[in-house]
Symmetry: C2
Subunit: 164 residues, 2 copies
């Protein structure tokens, strides 16, 4: 898929480790320990392949990754998938790159037999734009887990049916 000068790619490469660290850091939305988790997932995928359970979509501009999603089937479920990460480089916001990424990710999940996508995010005010983005893409609030991330920082679980 190519549109708006953006190319999507699903085959992870060694250089994506640095690219993911750079993209996630640029957003200013994550703590250092969260950034380390984002990097661990691509490392796991590169060392263990799809057995890692982690799948990726990268959005590239002139061959440079500027955004990505990380998703995968949820163990012990029949057709539920997690969207673990979606992030777009801070300097590339407002170009619909996130929309391309989430639509392509849902398409790939559907192609794998997935019926539902889950996204977990924070209730904090600095995640307002993120939550609006999920709403616009048809995600509904499935649950609200109080104080999950920290005192007064709840986890909101979104879901979307993606079956045909």
């Amino acid at each position: 898929m190519q549109s708006y000068g953006i190319t999507l790619r699903t085959d992870p490469e060694k250089s994506d480790i640095a690219a993911i660290r750079s993209i996630v850091t640029s957003t200013n939305a994550f703590r250092p320990d969260e950034i380390d988790v984002a990097v661990e997932l691509i490392e796991e995928r590169l060392s263990r392949g799809t057995a890692s359970g982690y799948y990726f979509v990268f959005a590239e501009e002139n061959g440079i990754p500027v955004g990505y999603t990380c998703y995968g089937p949820i163990a012990c479920t029949v057709a539920s998938h997690d969207l673990f990460w979606i992030a777009v480089d801070k300097n590339r916001h407002g170009k619909k790159i996130g929309s391309h990424l989430i639509i392509e990710t849902e398409k790939l999940i559907r192609a794998m037999g997935g019926k539902r996508v889950y996204i977990e995010t924070s209730s904090r005010a600095d995640y307002d734009a993120t939550r609006h983005f999920y709403h616009r893409h048809g995600y509904i609030v499935e649950a609200h887990i109080r104080n999950f991330y920290d005192d007064n920082d709840d986890k909101i679980i979104y879901s979307k049916e993606v079956a045909r």
Copy 2:
């Protein structure tokens, strides 16, 4: 801690791989793919140590593991822990082994600075006894995720505050 002829142990051993497979299989509560996940967690712990994020408590009777818990801090949270697995050999049910295991696990989580414990389980009728067990131990229903495990098989998320 020793009581009712049960000894608790937290240091995982190679032989626990087979023990966990045997305990989890004996309960008749899990599909083969779920049993594989239970086994993967002890394998991960044995190969990566506590960096795996998986911690264990084993209940032994005459040196033989008859039940266990697997738990760990939840990435990207400050003080939340997951209780991933709790299982007792089918032939040892009714001896309060599960209660000893969950109380010890909560104590260890508290000692690690954990404030909240989360348990996820199925809404299916064959999990009635399991859900009553969590209620008796002070866990409350935090969320109900419809069709999570499969169509008409919801995920119920329990939580308990364990901070001093």
